[in-house]
């Protein structure tokens, strides 16, 4: 190989990628509405209008899929596209007459149009078995199974407010906070391969990673290694990334938990973190039916009972947790009572009880 090239360090300007109508009206938009699910209509103070057509993708895309999406952009949207934070693609057109044929072309090629307003948008997800070095499950597969089941909810706007989902393959939760989040929850301490620890792991750093100080250096079979106080261990998996011989993933005991009510928007209530409402679900590849069933139950209860503009967190704030568990049929167990630092602020310090 020839001498490697010195990199050009620069974060490039995005202006050349913008649709011409966005350049012309940059910073001058007045309002928007949604003529139909999957379409946003923005109007500028200048009177200019654009329609954005949003479609779902599989995120993990092969080059043939991307080229097809590009063909559609060349045909309808002046060769410009943008992506949303949830891996939806958006095509912007300045001519309303292009909207219907663009939607038809996307649907014909298998890209569902939707994900706007009070719909269930695409799941924000992590890499999983496909590429991650510490995954408990395969987010892409969980997401495919979930979005198949929620296809109509993506294409329609029938929820009380927007629904944002995420999935994460370990407790680090790279998928992020969401109205409903599916996250791996390990239930057994790591299994340690003592033959490898000394060569692979920087032991003091691993000891320092543990949130509950359950790991200590030890000599095992005459070799320097690490041991875990299994009574203290909370099975979070934090030791596994810096020390792969501390295997936390287990086909049977790495379960899935479901969390609800996370919201990053400041609209109405302050932003909230999601809360655990179900756990112990099997890691049942390839289509995770038990997870899908719980997600469906929660969504249907919210859809039936939430008032317009109530996000999942707002709905639960109104009806209270006892009725959330009643309406969803999910069991409330002792594991849902927080005992981590700051946890007493999660307890009901009042006589406010709904009967």
């Amino acid at each position: 190989m020839s001498q490697p090239r010195k990199p050009v360090e620069h974060f490039l300007d995005n202006k050349k990628f913008l649709h011409p109508a966005l350049i012309a009206n940059y910073g001058n938009w007045k309002y928007h509405d949604r003529p139909r699910p999957g379409v946003l209509h923005h109007v500028s103070h200048s009177g200019a209008e654009v329609w954005s057509v949003r479609a779902g993708t599989q995120r993990q895309m092969d080059v043939y899929t991307i080229r097809k999406l590009c063909d559609i952009a060349d045909q309808f949207a002046e060769g410009r596209v943008r992506f949303t934070i949830r891996s939806n693609i958006e095509y912007i057109v300045a001519d309303e007459k292009k909207v219907a044929p663009l939607i038809a072309e996307l649907e014909k090629n298998g890209f569902p149009v939707g994900g706007t307003g009070n719909s269930v948008s695409m799941v924000a997800h992590t890499q999983g078995w496909l590429h991650c070095d510490i995954p408990g499950t395969d987010a892409s597969g969980v997401v495919k199974a979930m979005m198949d089941a929620l296809y109509d909810e993506f294409k329609n706007e029938e929820m009380p407010n927007r629904v944002r989902l995420s999935t994460s393959c370990c407790e680090i939760n790279c998928g992020g906070q969401a109205d409903i989040a599916v996250i791996v929850q390990h239930t057994k301490p790591p299994k340690i391969n003592h033959d490898l620890v000394a060569n692979v792991c920087e032991r003091p750093a691993v000891v320092a990673r543990c949130p509950v100080a359950a790991i200590r250096p030890a000599l095992v079979n005459g070799k320097p290694s690490l041991e875990v106080d299994e009574k203290k261990c909370i099975c979070c998996g934090a030791c596994y990334p810096p020390c792969p011989p501390m295997q936390i993933n287990d086909p049977e005991h790495s379960k899935l938990a479901i969390w609800v009510g996370g919201k990053n928007s400041n609209a109405r209530s302050k932003p909230t973190f999601h809360k655990m409402v179900a756990a112990g679900l099997p890691n049942n590849a390839p289509r995770w039916p038990e997870v899908n069933e719980v997600v469906r139950k929660i969504l249907m209860a919210y859809k039936a009972d939430g008032r317009p503009w109530e996000r999942m967190a707002d709905w639960i704030d109104r009806i209270g947790w006892p009725r959330f568990f009643e309406k969803t049929g999910l069991p409330f167990t002792k594991y849902m009572i927080d005992d981590w630092r700051g946890s007493r602020s999660n307890l009901n310090a009042s006589a406010h009880i709904r009967f």
């Binding site: 490697p4 974060f11 007045k30």
Partner: protein, 431 residues
């Protein structure tokens, strides 16, 4: 023509159903690439045994210390040889995408051509870091692929204990709720910290996210060390034509239940037009011939709800800028923390304002680099040292907008009280 596919009875079940299938995409790539044939075999093995089989390592490009995510297979036979030998290495190249994730098709097609030539042909748009993820490359091909990407004008994203790839919303390009030029702030901040992105030398990761309004579409408050959330400090603007249109379509029940009743600080009231306050801090707009919305802008917390419901009829003010919050992160190690306010309002109008934002970012990163423990995020550092020590370290004054409430316990040593009161009074007098 590639070699024959492995049997993939599990993955095959992810080809049915209406949502686009990544498995179908992989199989299309596998028609031409032995690499992807073995990748499918590798993934099927994970589905069958319910475990992951990639381990990290060290792969990089010339001149940089990060940005490549190395993966080596752990599925080995009894002779320690890779079972799926054509996919024994599956590295990812993180590439910083354009602000707001806007592309032209020439650019996307070039990425496809490069990745078809050097990699697996699988591209994630986008990873949770916000990066373009060129997934699946051998060690041998990483440098050549990267050089072609760099020649297109793109640069690598962050990985490890470094400043990470930033994220910004669609913002001013196509959103009336935008309160500053998100892309401009994103460009200026990231271009200042390229060295900290490409050569990981911080205590741990540091993330910037740029959201144009408090709807926070970039999830900056929960996912970034420094969140720049657009806001305004003057009165909300109103548009009577759009307000009347909205009311004609939605009616009184929705106005009361969905707009007035959902205001978190009861800043909105429904009034007879003739009794609307003339106070300078009030915005009002008629919805019909007799009734109007009256908004007390002193009580409004800029939550965005009413603006979201009545877009255009109600709108952000004109004195725009951002609220800056520090310390958002996920669980590891102390539990998830939200970003908390360190600057209630920073004006973002002219170039000097944006320079000031970059300087604040530099000050915060310098303090973080000096004071955080190894593997400690800003949120954990602030919890350990206290917000006041952090503010004093970066030279910002305390403000009651930084707290939910004042202190609820007496356990503090307060012998500096008089000096602090004098400082606050002097500052008031000078203002």
């Amino acid at each position: 023509m590639a070699k024959k596919l492995h049997d993939t009875p599990n993955l095959d079940q992810l080809e049915s159903g209406p949502w686009p299938s990544f498995v179908t995409g992989l199989k299309r790539l596998a028609k031409d690439k032995d690499y992807v044939v073995d990748l499918l075999g590798h993934l099927e093995h994970s589905y069958k045994t319910r475990k992951g089989y990639w381990k990290g390592g060290t792969v990089g490009v010339f001149g940089y210390g990060g940005g490549i995510i190395p993966r080596f297979t752990e599925i080995k036979d009894e002779k320690d040889q890779a079972v799926f030998k054509d996919a024994a290495e599956f590295h990812t190249i993180r590439v910083m995408p354009p602000a707001g994730w806007h592309y032209d098709t020439d650019t996307l097609r070039k990425f496809c051509d490069i990745w078809e030539k050097y990699g697996s042909g699988l591209i994630a748009l986008h990873g949770q870091t916000g990066d373009i993820m060129l997934q699946g490359c051998t060690t041998e091909n990483v440098q050549a692929a990267w050089e072609e990407v760099n020649a297109m004008g793109f640069d690598l994203g962050g990985a490890g204990p470094a400043v990470r790839t930033g994220m910004s919303c669609v913002g001013a390009a196509r959103c009336e709720q935008s309160c500053y030029d998100e892309a401009k702030a994103h460009h200026m901040v990231i271009n200042r910290f390229l060295d900290d992105i490409h050569r990981p030398a911080l205590p741990y990761k540091f993330k910037f996210k740029f959201s144009g309004c408090p709807n926070d579409c970039m999830n900056s408050i929960q996912r970034s060390d420094m969140a720049i959330i657009g806001t305004w400090r003057d009165n909300m603007r109103t548009d009577e034509k759009l307000a009347r249109q909205w009311f004609a379509k939605h009616g009184m029940n929705e106005l009361v239940n969905d707009v007035v009743g959902m205001c978190p600080t009861r800043a909105i009231q429904l009034k007879e037009i003739k009794s609307v306050s003339k106070d300078a801090h009030v915005s009002s707009v008629a919805v019909n011939d007799t009734q109007a919305l009256e908004i007390n802008n002193k009580d409004c917390v800029r939550c965005m709800h009413c603006i979201n419901v009545m877009t255009g009829a109600l709108a952000a003010g004109k004195d725009k800028g951002a609220t800056i919050l520090v310390g958002g992160k996920s669980h590891l190690k102390i539990g998830a923390t939200m970003g908390t306010v360190v600057v209630p309002f920073m004006s973002l109008k002219n170039d000097e304002d944006y320079e000031q934002l970059v300087e604040l970012a530099q000050t915060i990163i310098d303090f973080f680099a000096e004071n955080a423990l190894e593997h400690e995020r800003t949120g954990e550092m602030i919890e350990r040292i206290g917000l006041v020590n952090f503010l004093e370290g970066i030279g910002l004054d305390v403000d009651p907008a930084m707290v939910n409430s004042p202190r609820m316990n007496p356990y503090v040593r307060m012998d500096g009280w008089d000096e602090e009161v004098a400082k606050v009074n002097a500052k008031k007098a000078a203002a």
